[in-house]
Amino acid sequence: MKDTPLSNCERDFLLKAIEEKKRLDGRQTYDYRKMKITFGTDYGCCFVDLGKTRVMAQVSCELVAPKESRPNEGIMFFNIELSPMASPAFEQGRQSELSVKLNRQLERCLRNSKCIDTESLCVVSGEKVWQIRVDVHLLNHDGNLMDAASIAAITALCHFRRPDVGIQGDEVTVYSPEERDPIPLSIYHMPISVSFSFFQQGTYLLVDPCEREERVMDGLLMIAMNKHREICSIQSSGGIMLLKEQVMRCSKIASVKVSEITELLNKALVNDKKARKEGGRCGFAESLPQERITALKMEETSVEMTDATERAKDIVQKADARPQKVPSPVVPVPGVGQVGQGLQNTWGLEEDEDDEEEAEECDSGEEQEEAVTKMEEERHEKEASGEV
């Protein structure tokens, strides 16, 4: 299904707000949305909520023959599914540009940076190695899919436990989870991607764009780093031209954000470990908030009130005094009524046609008034009949 195009006035509104350093949800330019990481019942299943963007990652493993060029290394396979569940714009089965872009970025971010020790995945050199498969499913698209997907993927990899393997001479035994505890993967570092969106030819910059902001942006810069301040991947996309200083500034912001996110990630892993040990319930169903109305209480929405009183006073003082009496309709030409003065037309037409325009506006105004009164009468009738 084709996505509904963004209207011009919405686009102008968003761009104007960004120029004034305001965002739709009240965040600052460098703020991330609220992030929540939960785990499923199996090891290796992870859900990430970034604002309303929801992403699920699942890690699975399998014993396969290794690649011929690398006989003693395991295989990592990444896949991001853009299911139509996430957004009506995604189509089932077709490999769209966005799908290729996200898949390649995730591959480069996690595979090329060697975050996992692939040699430890080798069971029998040249014959059997573990193939680790990370499947990321997008459940809800509200902007910044890349960041959510990278966080979900690396968290799932940290959470995953693979079956233990015993080698006796030539025999290889794979123990099931009941026989021997599964062992975690050996992870060197945790690369996390941070996305920056650019507006108005690179003048304005926002971190973690939501879906509306993504639609009006000029371009995107993705920087993947780990908490040791090592840059794992940089990718610029969209047709923007960057300057070196902008890239350096973004990398500094990214390092701060990555350390915050890594802390959150580690905390979530520790909490989950504790919960599992205590035998508590965990899983997707548990992670959804219980919608029980116990009291009429709503979260406070933050509203900017810094200079509200001054501005209100200002407006009241500067406003003209309200006209005391309603202007009576003027009859410029028999059969035509005009109430009030129309606004200046912004169509940019020649002045000769102004008079014609005004006459037409008066006619249509009269018709609209008639239509409105008719609708009101009908509604009154309906209400009367309804009551009876």
Partner: protein, 245 residues
């Protein structure tokens, strides 16, 4: 590959170049008669052919045409004989699609597309021999092909791949240097304004080294732009001499 020294103590690389030296660039423009613009570029052992068609009417889906600018369609493919092992899928796989998207993005930034609304410009690039720096060579070849086609651009688009080994940035990586887990940065630059059209980096690099690496990349790109400029001027001289007769 252990034991393969990418940068020796005397400062020489595997092929005898110094750290900031680019490979030898040889190029020809106007290689094909049928295409609006074409170019062949060799950078060391990497050879690429670029062909430009356009601007022409939008083919295929009419809905893709933009009302205020031209759309750029890129296709990147590698010949099956271009790599050491025969390539089974020359185009349509993820890496080629990604490269095509990157090329498209690079040229959308550089070409003055507002001059040709509702039309399409096609760029086809083929790698005949791959020895590292594929993306950069494609961009350079495509720039020459665009100039040959006479499509107005803001500036030359020059690209270079640089790597970081032993605290030194190496300009213009070859295949052996790229493979060894070296952090490589590919940069497409418009030299006069210093604007970056595309920035891509893989493999771990500490944040403090980023600035030095980007500086090295920009210097290398400016070197490439000088070479491309010479090639264009030489080609124009030859063509004008022929047409003057």
């Amino acid at each position: 590959m252990a034991g393969l020294e990418l940068l020796s103590d005397q400062g020489y690389r595997l092929d005898g170049r110094k750290a900031t030296e680019l490979r030898k660039v040889q190029a020809r423009m106007g290689v094909f008669a049928q295409a609006d613009g074409s170019a062949y570029l060799e950078q060391g052992n990497t050879k690429a052919l670029a062909v430009v068609y356009g601007p022409h009417e939008v083919r295929g889906a009419r809905s893709r045409s933009r009302h205020d600018r031209a759309m750029i369609n890129c296709q990147y493919s590698m010949a099956t004989f271009s790599t050491a092992e025969r390539k089974r899928r020359p185009h349509g796989d993820r890496k080629s699609t990604e490269m095509s998207l990157h090329l498209k993005q690079t040229f959308e930034a550089a070409v003055m597309t507002q001059l040709y609304p509702r039309s399409q410009i096609d760029i086809f690039v083929k790698i005949l021999q791959s020895d590292g720096g594929n993306y950069s060579v494609c961009v350079n070849a495509a720039t020459l092909a665009m100039i040959d086609a006479g499509i107005p651009m803001r500036d030359y688009v020059c690209a270079c791949t640089v790597g970081f080994v032993d605290e030194t940035p190496l300009a213009d990586l070859c295949y052996a240097e790229e493979g060894g887990g070296v952090s490589s940065l590919a940069l497409a630059l418009l030299p006069r304004g210093g604007q970056i059209a595309l920035l891509q980096m893989d493999a771990r690099l500490h944040q403090d080294h980023l600035e030095a690496l980007m500086e090295a990349a920009m210097t290398a790109c400016k070197g490439v732009s000088k070479v491309l400029d010479e090639v264009v001027r030489l080609h124009l001289q030859e063509v004008s001499v022929l047409s003057a007769e």
